[in-house]
Symmetry: C2
Subunit: 334 residues, 2 copies
C-alpha cells in the first residue's frame, strides 16, 4: 500500500525525519548502522519521496523539457530517444512539448516552465518567426540548449549539424551527376539552420559555375498538399533536372509529384533530401539522403545541458557541430 511518507517512516524507525532524510541521501552525518536500517525499511515499505515536497524545498525538479515542432518526425523522435537515454542516466524526467511550428505556443510553453517545473530546456525552435527578445528573457532565467533548429540572433549553447557543408556537398553531388538546373526546396529560412543550408547550395552552384535561378528556389509550406502542388508546378514550369530538399518532409511530395507527372527519378530528375527515414533505402527509387545524426544530437544536447546543470560548463555560447552523412542512392543515379 503506497504513499508512506518520511514522517511515518521516521516514526516506524523511532528516528527523526531529519535523520531519515539524511540517511536516504547517504549523508556522512549518519552512522552506517542507522543508514542500513533506514534503507531496509524504506525498501520494504516501498517508500518513494514525494517529488513536489522535495522540489519545493530543494528548488530542483529533476526534470527537463524538450520542446520540438513535431514528435512524428524521424529526426525529432530519434533526438528524443537520445535525450531520454541521457536523462535516464542522470535520473531525470523528460517532459515533451510540441509546438507544431507555432512560435507563440513555443514561447508560452517556455514561460510556463519558468516557475520551477523544470531545471532546463532542450529546444529545436519552430519555423515561424520569433521575437528574439522573448527567448533572451527566458535564457536569463533557465538553462537552455538549442539543437538543430537554432536562432542565429541568440547567444546560447547550441548543437547543430554542418548545415552549410551538407548542402554544399549534396549540391555538388547533383552537379557531378550531371544536373544543371537544380531546384532548392527551401525551409527554415528564418533560422540560421535554414540559411546555412541555403548558403551551402548557393555556394556549390557558384563554385561549379552552375547558373542560379530564382525560379528554381521555392519555399516550403507547412502543409503536405501545398508542397505537392508547388513542387508539381515547379516541375512543370521549370523542368529542373535535380532537386535538393532542405527538410525531410519535402521528400515524399517530390516522389508523388514525379509519379503523377510521369517523371522518372533519377532519369528525368534527380533527388537528394535531408532525411532520417529508415525506409530511404527501400523507396522506389531508393532515396539519396543527407542524414543527420539525430540520436547523437539528442545525446550531445542533453549531455551539455546536464553539464550546465552540474555547473561543469564554462563555454557559455559554444556551438557543437556534428557531421551529417551523405548517402548516395538510386534517386541520384547510384
Amino acid at each position: 500500500m503506497g504513499n508512506i511518507n518520511l514522517k511515518e517512516l521516521a516514526l516506524a524507525l523511532n528516528l527523526s525525519t531529519a535523520t531519515v532524510s539524511r540517511a536516504l541521501r547517504d549523508s556522512h552525518e549518519i552512522s552506517t548502522e542507522t543508514k542500513k536500517k533506514v534503507l531496509e525499511l524504506a525498501k520494504k515499505l516501498n517508500y518513494e519521496p514525494n517529488p513536489s515536497a522535495s522540489n519545493l524545498r530543494s528548488q530542483k525538479s529533476k526534470t527537463i523539457a524538450v520542446i520540438i515542432p513535431e514528435v512524428t518526425n524521424n529526426f525529432f523522435s530519434q533526438a528524443i530517444n537520445g535525450i531520454e537515454e541521457i536523462a535516464r542516466q542522470h535520473d531525470y524526467h523528460v517532459l515533451i512539448y510540441q509546438t507544431h511550428e507555432n512560435s507563440e505556443l513555443e514561447i508560452a510553453f517556455m514561460r510556463r516552465l519558468l516557475s520551477g517545473r523544470v531545471d532546463g530546456i532542450l529546444i529545436s525552435v519552430a519555423s515561424e518567426t520569433n521575437d528574439d527578445q522573448d527567448f533572451k528573457d527566458i535564457l536569463n532565467e533557465l538553462p537552455v540548449v538549442f539543437f538543430d533548429r537554432v536562432n542565429e540572433n541568440i547567444d546560447a549553447v547550441k548543437v547543430t549539424t554542418d548545415d552549410y557543408e551538407s548542402t554544399y556537398k549534396a549540391t555538388t553531388h547533383l552537379i557531378e551527376c550531371g544536373c544543371r538546373k537544380i531546384a532548392y526546396l527551401m525551409a527554415l529560412n528564418n533560422l540560421s539552420t535554414g540559411k546555412k543550408r541555403f548558403a551551402g547550395y548557393l555556394a556549390a552552384m557558384k563554385d561549379n559555375n552552375v547558373t542560379e535561378n530564382e525560379a528554381l528556389i521555392i519555399p516550403d509550406s507547412n502543409n503536405d498538399d501545398d508542397n505537392y502542388t508547388h513542387i508539381k508546378k515547379l516541375l512543370l514550369d521549370e523542368k529542373p533536372d535535380g532537386i535538393i530538399t532542405s527538410i525531410e518532409n519535402l521528400a515524399l511530395p517530390c516522389y508523388y509529384a514525379c509519379r503523377d507527372l510521369k517523371l522518372n527519378i533519377p532519369r528525368d530528375v534527380k533527388l537528394i533530401s535531408f532525411s532520417n527515414l529508415k525506409t530511404a533505402p527501400l523507396l522506389n527509387p531508393s532515396l539519396s539522403t543527407i542524414t543527420q545524426p539525430a540520436f547523437e544530437m539528442g545525446k550531445e544536447a542533453a549531455s551539455i545541458l546536464f553539464k550546465i546543470l552540474n555547473k561543469k560548463y564554462f563555454e557559455p555560447n559554444e556551438t557543437l557541430v556534428l557531421k551529417s552523412v551523405i548517402i548516395k542512392r538510386e534517386s541520384t543515379g547510384f
Copy 2:
C-alpha cells in the same frame, strides 16, 4: 525578472495570499474588482505559480506519464502526438518514458511515479513477460489506461485495435491473392494483443482450409539483424508464398531478406504487415499494410484517462476497440 511568488504579489496588492490565490483561481468568494486587479498585476509581473508548491498542497500534479517501448516507432510517435494534443487541451504536462521492451524498467518507472509525480499513466506494455502482480499493485494506486499493447490478465481500462479481425482479414487477403504457404511473423505473443493477432491468422487459415504449418510461424527477436537472419532462413527452408508480420519492425527485414535472396515481392512471396510507415506507398514494392489509427488511439486513451481523473468515468474495465484499416498495395499484388 521572473519568479515572483504569491507572497510578493499579495504584498504589492496589499492583500493576503489567500485572497490573491483565490482571485487567480477565479473563486466566487472574491469581488470582481479585486480579481481584476490581481489578474492585471499577475500578468504584468509574469507571475507563474510554483508547481511544486501547488502540487504539494493540492495533491494534483497536472502531469501524466506515457510509458512506451520506443519513441522511434511510427505507431508510438503518432500515439504520443494524439496524447499530447489531449493533454494540451486539459492544460496537462506529458512525461515520456521508454522501456526498450524491458519490463523491469517498466515497473521501476511506474513505481517511481507512484509518489505523486503524475496524476495518471498511459502505457503500452513491454513485450517481455511481466509479473502481473506488479501491475495490479500499481493500478490500485494510480489511474492507468493501457493502449495497444495490453495485458490480458489485468483488469483495467484499455484502448486497442481489432487485432483479431485485422490479421483475419489480412490473412484472408493473402489467401485470396493465391497464397497457400503463409508465414506468420509472430510478436507480442505474451500479450493479448499478440495472441489475438495470431488467433486471427489461425482462424483465417482454418476457415479457408489452408493447412497450418508450425514451421511457418516464427517469433520475432528484439534485434533487426536477428530478424533478418531468421526471415532469410524461413524463406530458404520453407519457401512461403505469403508473409504476414504482426508488427511494423518486421516488415523491413522481409524486404532485405527477399532482396538478398533475389525473391520478388509480390511474385515469389507476398507481404502484408502491420505498419504506420508514411512511406509504405513509396516502397519498392509498395507495402500492403494493416494500419492502426495510432493518433486516434493516443487521443482516445488520453481522453479516457482525463475522464477518470475528472471522475466522469463509470466503466472501470472497459476496453475501447478502434478499427485498423487494411490497405492493399503492390506487395500483395495490387
